[in-house]
């Protein structure tokens, strides 16, 4: 198995080449088939690798060739599969495979479908590089590669200027994060002389660094993570990214790429663990993002944007978990989130598909009877994200809440904000659910809503099953489960939660009950308000502020974007053209003027020249004589 590791990323790459180079020569169905089959094959290889791993619990590793080597610095294109990477590979190929299949139905008839599948395959290739890399530099290659594909797919319908602009915004905001990633990498390389995980994560290596330096590196890497995973202050690109086709939102902007930041923190967990400051920053940013994004989801009417804010919020949970040292819980939630958020996006896509492109929930409603398959699978999704008992989201979110409360680096603040967010989450998710499926039908006349074809509903159903049951591999011991996920992952990622403080007010079960109660409160309020199909009134005051997303985009434009653009314009016109060129041109014309003055001596009259020569001779004689 070890020698075939490279096939896992390279099969989708082959799909990319076929779709990209043959393009329109491929029929629509063949294009989708190639794309899905290649990633399906990667999934099978991923499962075989899991099997091989479970046999003797040894990390699989394959070096392909040297990428960059200079002096003692050596980085290869090399893949590794440990417990953490295996989870990520299976999520990426598993959820990815379902979304590829779904896309065959969703993108049917689009003239650019071959280009679409080429990008989607390229994305999978890059994402697999990201999660399988055995060194930071290759991880960075995948990291930038998925960003590129995200850019291309957000702007997939590039003739719409708004969509093209959204793609660029995503790329540029991510680049701000990448600035941190790059610097973090450079500092690691400068101090440890390597970028291979096998070298830099060794305890004796890390402990040779000062704490201040570790904090700097960790925070720089976290800046990268905040960009990719849409955390404060770099979250602004993700809502706009919903301009892409809905399956793209499901795959890239919910299930996989945006979780790369969480993966990075978990992968570098040994480093973050050495800096209490960095961990606290991660936890606080995470939980604040979770809360802040949830408030915006409440006021949003675009079904995809609600899900986008929800994604930001859930990613915040994952960072909160990682920030209190509970990496295992973060990755567990990453996985269950991939199931239910992938499902929710695909469900939303099915609704949008059925309503001929409508995304505004104010023009939905009453779809329950028209789209039963979508309805029931969506119900599974919203219940799972709300954390209803025994569903996947329940186990993972509960684990996070428990650790934010009980971990040594956790605390009441993070726990309470996390709990409040849980209430908001179930509220806005069920608001979405009721507005879409219950109450009166408010869609535009002439549209006949219909359920989607099987190629789309089968992936929905499979994801619904995963959303319901996917958490059962992580049932905590206190409920009689084995928490096998946690044990599996701990072979790679070591939590740093410390022993629980003994003076805790709440027990693990109490926290669980609180989180269930919170979810129920949210659902109840949502039902009271929207269960009958009522709509929101025009909001004023604070509500209006939230509806306008706190004017953060406008603030960034006013404080960063416009000053840079205007400033550059005026520097160019005033300094570059006038001052520097002015000096040059001025010197030029000065030379001209001087020479035209000197030229007057060249009268062309021989007598004048003779006179001057005579004068010169006399002066020379005088000079010699006087000397």
């Amino acid at each position: 198995m070890e020698n075939a590791l490279w096939l896992i990323p390279f099969l989708p790459f082959a799909g990319f080449l076929l779709n990209g180079l043959l393009g329109k020569k491929l029929s629509e169905s063949l294009s989708g088939l190639i794309a899905s089959a290649t990633i399906g094959a990667s999934l099978v290889l991923g499962l075989l690798s899991l099997n091989a791993y479970l046999e003797n619990h040894e990390t699989l590793h394959q070096v392909m060739f040297t990428w960059l080597s200079l002096g003692s610095f050596d980085v290869s294109i090399a893949y590794t599969l440990d417990a953490l990477s295996l989870v990520m590979v299976l999520v990426v190929t598993g959820v990815g495979f379902l979304i590829h299949v779904y896309s065959i139905g969703y993108m049917k008839g689009d003239p650019g479908i071959q280009r679409y599948f080429a990008y989607l395959n390229l994305f999978t290739f890059m994402m697999l590089n990201l999660v399988m890399a055995d060194n930071l530099l290759l991880l960075f290659l995948g990291w930038e590669g998925v960003g590129l594909c995200s850019y291309l797919l957000i702007g997939f319908w590039f003739e719409d200027p708004a969509k093209a602009a959204a793609g660029k915004k995503a790329f540029v905001v991510n680049r701000i994060g990448d600035f941190g990633f790059l610097l973090g990498m450079i500092i690691i390389l400068t101090n440890l002389g390597s970028l291979n995980f096998g070298d830099i994560l060794l305890p004796e290596q890390l402990s040779s660094l000062e704490t201040g330096l570790i904090t700097t590196i960790a925070l720089l890497l976290f800046l990268g993570a905040a960009g990719k995973s849409a955390q404060i202050p770099l979250y602004v690109w993700l809502p706009d990214a919903m301009a892409g086709p809905t399956p793209v939102s499901a795959l890239i902007h919910a299930a996989t790429m945006v979780t790369a930041g969480v993966y990075l923190v978990a992968r570098m967990g040994a480093l973050f663990a050495l800096s209490a400051t960095a961990l606290s920053v991660v936890a606080v940013i995470g939980v604040l993002t979770a809360f802040f994004a949830a408030t915006m989801a409440i006021y949003e009417n675009d079904i995809k944007k609600v899900l986008a804010y929800s994604t930001i919020s859930q990613l915040g949970y994952m960072f909160a978990a990682a920030g209190v040292g509970a990496y295992g819980a973060a990755i567990f939630h990453l996985m269950t989130h991939a199931f239910f958020k992938g499902l929710l996006f695909l469900g939303a896509g099915s609704v949008i598909h059925g309503l001929s492109g409508e995304q505004d929930m104010r023009r939905m409603g009453g779809l329950k009877s028209k789209m039963p398959k979508t309805y029931w699978t969506m119900l599974a999704g919203v219940s799972a994200i709300s954390g209803l008992p025994l569903l996947s989201g329940f186990f993972s979110k509960d684990e996070i809440l428990w650790f934010t409360y009980s971990s040594q680096s956790g605390g009441d603040f993070i726990f309470i904000v996390g709990l409040l967010t849980a209430i908001l989450t179930s509220f806005y998710m069920f608001r979405l659910f009721f507005l879409t499926f219950h109450g009166d039908s408010r869609w535009t006349k002439g549209i006949t809503p219909h359920d989607s074809p099987p190629v789309m509903t089968i992936p929905l159903i499979l994801l619904a099953v995963l959303s319901v049951a996917g958490g059962w591999i992580g049932i905590p011991e206190i409920l009689g489960g084995g928490n096998s996920f946690h044990h599996f992952l701990s072979e790679t990622v070591h939590d740093v939660v410390g022993p629980h403080p003994t003076d805790l007010l709440l027990s693990e079960l109490t926290v669980m009950v609180l989180s269930i109660a919170g979810a129920l409160v949210g659902i109840y309020v949502a039902f009271r308000r929207y269960g009958t199909g009522k709509l929101d009134k025009e909001s004023k005051g604070f509500g209006h502020l939230v509806e306008k997303k706190y004017y953060v985009d406008e603030l960034y434009d006013a404080v960063i974007v416009h000053p840079i653009r205007r400033g550059s314009e005026s520097i160019w016109r005033r300094f570059d053209v006038r001052v520097i060129d002015g000096i040059v041109n001025g010197l030029g014309s000065l030379t001209l003027r001087v020479s035209s003055f000197v030229r007057r001596a060249q009268t062309g009259v021989i007598q004048n020249y003779a006179a001057v020569i005579l004068l010169g001779v006399i002066l020379i004689i005088f000079y010699v004589y006087l000397k």
Partner: protein, 516 residues
């Protein structure tokens, strides 16, 4: 073959000149014949230059050397050779020339023969600059490049070509005259110190120069190189020259001519005047960093595609200067490879903009939009080149930038942090340009354009292949560059530490003397 291999550098210098003879004698056969002849010569030149690549051993010494005494009384000899620093600049030159010829296939209409003669003369001189190991020949080649380039811009350029051509020549001349003074001083020192007049590079490096003298010599040489690169604030000739030059001129200018500045620093300033150079490191690194940010900001607001690419060059070459003056093995290697990378990416951008100009007769960004719809293949190629230029990992630009930044961090952390901001800005100005040119609705003038033709594919595909190769597997290149750079950096630090140690030892001795 072995005679041929041993004299390959001379062959490479003379072949284009022989080509000039060929073109002159066959001009009566028509323009088509002349174009094919030029293409043939340049391809042949490239194939021959591969001998250098294959035969070059990863060692620090000069290889493929030839030496013939020319005027013994004046100490002038014909001496050539390549090391890891010049090897890939020569290959870059011979690689880009067939592409420049292809780019001029249809766009050049007047005085076709003279145009291609100018290109070939320039090629000969460029190979000469990068291989000359005698300062007389170096200076002759250095100056000789100006003449064909002056004509390329001044005759075949666009509207403001005369202004741009004169500006280009004046800027460069100012620098090179001071360099000439420097060379003459060194020449006078050979007589004084070595007993015989010599202009050989090898003899120059044997001279013992006080740090005060080195200070002035560095300045005399550096100004010339700084203008050529160009280093902020000597860059203002570049946007004009690029905008007015024909496509082939821009490709050669960006691809090769700017590299002569970086090469000059490495070949002359670092080994010959280390003590003088040391004094200027903070200043020049500051200018390089300013240039990175400044060039990027200027690129952001340019309405003309060629000007945008020209300012992006200012930004990118700031990285090269940063790497050279950080003087670590990794940063300098990064700079050498980045010179090649920049030649490929920026050359390709100018080539692509030229293709667009042939179709639309405008370079104004505002005139475009939605080209991804009307020119899908062209758009894909353009995007790849843009991504290489923006430093996306997996393509060549990243390799150079990463080596430079990671190599420069230890000596100059603040400079690296600021320079890394330039990478964000590169994404901003490049992708904003892409957005305005390729995305959005397609207007009537921009629809119905012809996508890439086979001649254009022929020109651009080799460049893309090289971008991917250098991005994924730069090892064969780095291995050849590294030994020369290692030696350069080691010699530099030896020179510095020797002078630094001397006063300390003296101090200690005098201290002990006092104690006694």
């Amino acid at each position: 073959m072995s005679w041929f291999n041993e004299h390959i550098l001379t062959v490479l210098i003379l072949l284009p000149l022989a080509g000039v003879g060929l073109l002159l004698s066959t001009r009566s056969l028509g323009n088509e014949f002349v174009k094919r002849g030029a293409l043939l010569i340049s391809v042949l030149e490239f194939l021959f230059s591969l001998i250098l690549f294959i035969g070059f051993k990863p060692m620090a010494n000069f290889q493929f050397t030839e030496q013939t005494v020319w005027i013994p009384a004046w100490g002038i000899s014909y001496s050539v050779g390549v090391d890891g620093i010049s090897l890939f600049l020569i290959l870059l030159t011979t690689f880009l020339m067939p592409i420049a010829v292809l780019a001029s296939w249809r766009s050049v209409e007047k005085s076709v023969t003279s145009f291609f003669i100018s290109l070939l003369v320039m090629e000969s001189a460029m190979v000469g600059v990068f291989s000359a190991l005698d300062l007389f020949f170096f200076y002759i080649f250095w100056e000789a490049i100006l003449i064909p380039m002056y004509f390329l811009i001044g005759v075949w350029g666009s509207k403001k070509r005369i202004y741009a051509a004169i500006k280009f020549v004046l800027f460069t001349m100012v620098g090179s005259l001071l360099m000439l003074v420097g060379i003459l001083y060194l020449y006078s020192q050979t007589t004084a110190q070595l007993g015989a007049a010599s202009l050989a590079y090898e003899d120059m490096s044997r001279l013992v120069l006080s740090s005060g003298i080195q200070y002035w010599l560095f300045l005399a040489f550096a100004l010339s190189f700084a203008i050529k690169i160009p280093l902020f604030p000597f860059h203002t000739w570049l946007p004009d020259a690029h905008t007015e030059a024909p496509t082939a001129g821009s490709i050669i200018l960006a691809g090769v001519l700017l590299k002569m500045g970086g090469y000059g620093f490495l070949r002359f300033c670092v080994p010959l005047f280390p003590l003088g150079m040391k004094e200027f490191i903070p200043l020049i690194i500051t200018l390089a960093v300013v240039g990175i940010i400044y060039g990027a900001l200027m690129a952001l607001v340019q309405p003309d595609l060629k000007r945008l690419v020209a300012f992006s060059s200012v930004s990118h070459l700031g990285f090269v200067v940063l790497g050279i003056f950080a003087l670590t093995s990794r940063s300098v290697t990064g700079s050498v490879i980045q010179m090649v990378n920049h030649g490929l990416a920026t050359g390709a951008l100018f080539l692509l903009v030229g293709m667009l100009y042939e179709r639309r007769h405008t370079r104004m960004i505002a005139d475009f939009g939605g080209l991804a719809k009307s020119l899908p293949r062209y758009s894909v190629v353009f995007l790849i080149v843009v991504l290489a230029s923006a430093g996306l990992p997996g393509l060549n630009g990243f390799v150079g930038e990463f080596l430079i930044l990671s190599g420069s961090y230890e000596p100059h952390p603040a400079a690296v942090v600021i320079s890394a901001l330039g990478i964000i800005l590169a994404a901003v100005y490049l992708l904003w340009m892409v957005e305005r040119v390729f995305f959005g609705p397609v207007s009537e003038e921009n629809s119905g354009l012809k996508d890439l033709m086979s001649r254009e594919w022929l020109a651009i595909v080799p460049m893309i292949v090289m971008m991917v190769w250098l991005g994924i597997y730069p090892k064969p290149f780095l291995d050849k560059i590294e030994p020369s750079v290692d030696k350069l950096v080691k010699d530099f630090s030896t020179a510095i530490s020797e002078t630094e140690n001397t006063p300390i030892i003296l101090n200690r001795e005098s201290f002990e003397e006092v104690n006694e």
